[in-house]
């Protein structure tokens, strides 16, 4: 046993002996106040020290006894022979409990004694139980604290400066001292506290942690705490006038009057004596401080310790692209020459250029979360404006996309989210009537799928009204009145230029620059938009975007003497297509892949290429999301680092081709737009089934 515990045991034994003496005397003179005090103090010390040194069983056991003796001291319980015997029995048990920290003594007897003591305590006596709180984890937040002590602060020995130091130790802080209440020298009483403080503090704490620092002074001072910033906030901070009004230093009417003077606000406020100079300075410090914090956070969000102009990155990517093409030529040349030394050199260059390419592309990748952050605010503001309740959640914020793609994605996403809030989610009353929770839900998520990133906006609103869309499309002349479009085709109508379904054009959406702009923007990025909707239960809009627009890993294939590249990220496998398979499918372009029926695209037909069909063709099976489609080619050549070159104005509307690349021997290979071609298969399927 450690010496401190040993010291406690010895002390407790002495106290018990003293208590036993006192108890025997008390039986003779039951009203002796000194004896009662002595027993209470002994019991109190045994209990209090017991808890200090880890004898928790003693602390628990003696607690009830101590309470009874406290009540005897107050004259609310009378001493009896029975009480004395019971206390003596308790002393025997305490002796047993003192044997060891974990000793339990005669537990049946202890319980019995405890019950008897508890029965003596009037039930009105509330027993505050100590609550042990686990320290909570808090996110970083910034607080504004105004600590205004009363003038008599010093009188009970309080020094306010250690409190300020304690706050400083919690995190980053600014302390501003206000001296405007200091009287003139002759009126000044040095024993009084005239100053007060503003503290701006950033730390991973909660408001109650701050209150805790002031626990000894909260009755002799005013402490106002407000959270003014959190880790999620990136926007610019409040104007100075608003800060002063919020802190109660300036009345809102005074602010309006001052603002109307058309001079610098701070100057007007001080000239008019509306607030003391130190309070203005404090508000300015707060403004600068929070702006600084947010600026730093924005820089961290951009996750760059070195800022580089993006055009420099663009030209770096171009150069790497050229290098990759030259490297392909070198590899080709080395193979032709059959020189092993040259071949080894070419392989090294290939490996290094692939690494260089990956690193360069990686620099351009940014987490999409940077754009997600601004939508939280957007949804909140819109929902408030419209009187709707919306729970906005996001997932996959860490998904990375090429910077160019992210930059161009912002506006379409804003538009789609506005649509969900405005047209999708119903008013709380309507939702209740429809048997849904009053609070609507919008979920924005991003995830990788091969060479693509899927971004979806999911709401549990009213869904698309196919009948209304159809009628509107007919009225606008977009759809022929006799047409019988499928549900999917009806959904696609909303991408038609000039289409807007909102019956009343609201201030939030429905300005007519609707979904056609969204779909055009996404297609310009090489992506596509897909809608799924269930009337009454919600809509899911999925944007499918290529990871990058510059260099990709491709699968090089040959078809009738021409070369094509498929993005390797969406290639699942290559299988053979024999004439027997073709015959078995009865003219349908379907193939059985280990029991799964996969539609395929005969590229020879699609691109109207002539030439002899080889005996056995190859199918490249691709997958985007959960959809699988095969592409029939003559020959699969292999992996190829593909530097994407745009096709130029004349060919930019070529369906099914997203670009071109240069092979090692100088030949041009076209890059297949797998996404667009897949859509083509679906249409074909529809026309067959319809």
């Amino acid at each position: 046993m450690d010496p401190q515990k040993q010291a406690y045991r010895e002390e407790a034994s002495e106290l018990i002996a003293d208590m036993e003496d006192a108890l025997v005397e008390l039986e003779q003179s039951p009203t002796d106040r000194d004896l009662i005090d002595r027993i209470f103090r002994d019991m109190h010390t045994i209990k209090g020290s017991g808890a200090m040194f880890g004898f928790n069983n003693i602390a628990t056991f003696t607690h009830g006894i101590e309470t009874v003796y406290d009540l005897i001291r107050e004259g609310r319980i009378k001493v009896s022979g029975e009480l004395v015997s019971l206390t003596l029995a308790a002393c025997d048990q305490i002796k047993l409990l003192l044997e060891d920290v974990d000793a339990t003594g005669d537990s049946a007897h202890i319980t019995e004694i405890s019950h008897k003591f508890a029965a003596m305590i009037p039930s009105a006596e509330p027993e505050p139980s100590p609550v042990a709180l686990e320290p909570e984890e808090h996110g970083e937040a910034t607080f504004r604290i105004r600590f205004t002590p009363k003038p008599e602060l010093f009188e009970n020995g309080t020094n306010p400066l250690p409190l300020l130091d304690e706050l400083r130790d919690l995190g980053e802080s600014r302390v501003i001292c206000h001296l405007d209440r200091l009287p003139d020298l002759e009126a000044l009483d040095p024993q009084k506290c005239y100053v007060y403080w503003d503290i701006i503090l950033t730390a991973k704490i909660s408001e109650s942690d701050i209150r805790d620092v002031f626990i000894f002074v909260d009755d002799i001072s005013d402490i106002a705490i407000a959270q003014i910033d959190s880790a999620e906030e990136l926007d610019d901070y409040k104007p100075i006038g608003q800060i002063l009004v919020e802190k109660g230093d300036l009345a809102a009417s005074e602010l309006d009057a001052a603002l109307s003077e058309q001079k610098r606000l701070g100057q007007v406020i001080v000239e008019k004596g509306l607030v003391p100079e130190s309070e203005l300075e404090s508000a300015l410090t707060e403004q600068e401080y929070v702006r600084d914090m947010r600026l730093k956070r924005r820089q961290v969000e951009a996750s760059a310790s070195v800022k580089v102009a993006s055009f420099k990155l663009d030209s770096l990517v171009d150069l790497v692209g050229e290098l990759v093409i030259v490297q392909a030529r070198l590899s080709e040349f080395a193979t032709r020459r059959g020189d092993p030394d040259l071949a080894a050199l070419a392989e090294d260059v290939e490996r290094l250029s692939a690494e260089l390419r990956d690193q360069t592309m990686d620099i351009r990748m940014l987490p999409i979360g940077t754009t997600f952050a601004r939508f939280k605010r957007l949804v909140r503001d819109l929902a408030n404006e419209l009187g709707k309740e919306i729970d906005f959640t996001t997932a996959g914020a860490e998904t990375e996309l090429d910077k160019t793609v992210i930059d161009k994605l912002g506006d379409p996403l804003v538009h789609l989210i506005r649509n969900s809030v405005d047209h999708g989610i119903e008013l709380p009353a309507d939702r209740r009537a429809a048997g849904k929770a009053e609070q609507g839900r919008i979920h924005l998520s991003a995830q990788h799928s091969g060479a693509y990133v899927l971004i979806s906006i999911e709401d549990d609103g009213r869904g698309l009204n196919t009948r209304a869309i159809r009628e509107k499309a007919i009225a606008k002349g977009i759809l022929a009145p006799e047409a019988q479009p499928s549900e999917k085709e009806i959904f696609e109508l909303i991408f038609a230029p000039g289409f807007s379904t909102a019956e009343n054009v609201s201030a939030i959406s429905g300005r007519g620059v609707g979904m056609d702009v969204v779909s055009r923007n996404i297609e310009a990025l090489g992506g596509s938009v897909e809608i799924q909707s269930q009337a009454g239960s919600g809509t899911v809009i999925t944007l499918k975007l290529p990871l990058t627009l510059a260099i990709i890993d491709g699968l090089l294939v040959e078809l009738a003497g021409n070369f094509f590249v498929l993005p390797l990220g969406c290639v699942l496998e290559c299988i053979e297509l024999s004439q027997t398979d073709v015959n078995r499918a009865h003219g349908r372009h379907m193939v059985n892949v280990r029991g799964e029926i996969v539609p395929y695209i005969p590229l020879r037909e699609v691109f109207s290429l002539s030439g002899e069909i080889p005996e056995s063709e190859q199918i490249v099976i691709t997958g985007i999301g959960d959809r699988r489609v095969g592409f029939v080619v003559d020959r699969v050549i292999g992996q190829h680092q593909t530097v994407i070159k745009t096709l130029g104005k004349a060919l930019k509307d070529m369906d099914g081709i997203s670009g071109a690349t240069i092979l090692g021997n100088g030949t041009v290979a076209l890059i297949l737009d797998v996404n667009r071609l897949t859509a083509y298969v679906e249409q074909e399927e529809l026309s067959l089934t319809g």
Binding site: A7, G48, N159
Partner: protein, 121 residues
């Protein structure tokens, strides 16, 4: 110079524990067995702070604080009261008597040091 703290408690084991903790932390410690002993010792030597138990024979913690505060030269002396959680109202009494702060028993050495730092700097 090391700050001098007076520890007032009728329990020798608590005094020993407080003494050990404070000495380790670099404070100088003066011990007193109860309020009366503390007053006698305070009359002879000055300290920077007093930590006192509540229940003690002869003169209890509240009485000690009142007596110290009535001496104009010790009006601003920081005084911390040791209480148990079952005596919340005593905390209020201590406050009225002029206690600077309090520590609720049982406490751990680092909690004691945190409170001392909060009051003494």
């Amino acid at each position: 110079m090391a700050k001098k703290i007076m520890s007032v408690d009728d329990s020798a084991s608590i005094r020993q524990m407080v003494n050990f903790t404070l000495t380790e932390a670099g404070y100088e410690v003066v011990e007193a067995e109860d309020g009366q002993d503390a007053l006698d010792k305070l009359a002879r030597a000055s300290v920077d702070m007093v930590i006192t138990d509540l229940n003690m024979p002869r003169l209890d913690g509240i009485g000690l604080i009142k007596a110290v505060r009535s001496d104009p030269s010790k009006k601003f002396l920081p005084m911390i009261l040791l209480t148990t959680e079952s005596h919340v109202d005593k905390k209020e009494l201590g406050r009225q008597a002029g206690a600077t702060g309090w520590i609720v028993k049982p406490f751990k050495p680092d909690q004691l040091l945190a409170v001392i730092k909060r009051v003494l700097g």
